[in-house]
């Protein structure tokens, strides 16, 4: 399923809403999650999963082509952990 198919499903269920409003609703939800993580916050959606930010320490990396060592700075990366209900549903436990 891609973003536009998700928008279509929500639009079909809500005939009183304009398509462009449904698009804004869907974008708002995903943008809000990204913005929260950009601030270093967590987003916990019970039953679905939780988005959080993990810190990766600075390290000495290597250029795979030349073998030269390069300093890689500390950085923060997005992380998702599946919620219990969804994990169970994926495995046929309803």
């Amino acid at each position: 399923m891609i973003r536009s198919e998700l928008v279509q499903k929500i639009a079909d269920e809500n005939p009183h809403l304009y398509q462009r409003d449904v698009e804004r609703i869907v974008s708002t939800i995903f943008d809000e999650i990204i913005e929260a993580m950009a601030r270093g916050d967590r987003v916990e959606l019970r039953g679905f999963g939780a988005f959080s930010v993990k810190k990766r320490d600075a390290r000495v990396g290597r250029n795979p082509r030349t073998g030269d060592s390069v300093q890689v700075e500390e950085k923060h990366v997005p992380f998702f952990k599946t919620g219990k209900l969804l994990r169970d549903r994926l495995n046929g436990k309803e």
Partner: protein, 100 residues
């Protein structure tokens, strides 16, 4: 870092603010988005949200695990797991926003 935790409530508040639907309807819509995504994943589909990321379902084979405390061997059954691959945009915004 502020380290707040947002929930469904904060997402529906954002929808209420941005789109101007009632709080009640905003909450219902947030729930249907999550529901459609979950249903699609349970069917074994990939969920690809452009400029957000991709959720995919992977099959894990059975293996022998070990209870780290007792050292006892325990069988781990084959199972399906969900992985999330963030988009470039998400990675960039998260890296930039949390820069020391």
């Amino acid at each position: 870092m502020s380290e707040k935790t947002l929930t469904r409530m904060d997402l529906s508040e954002a929808v209420f603010r941005e789109v101007g639907l009632s709080r009640n309807e905003s909450a219902t819509l947030v729930e249907s988005v999550l529901q459609h995504m979950s249903d699609s994943l349970v069917k074994g589909e990939q969920v690809k949200i452009s400029s957000f990321g991709t959720f995919s379902v992977r099959d894990k084979a059975a293996r022998v695990g070990r209870n780290p405390k007792t050292g006892e061997e325990v069988p781990i059954l084959p199972r399906r797991v969900l992985t999330f691959r963030p988009s470039h945009l998400m990675k960039e915004r998260v890296a930039a926003g949390n820069k020391a």
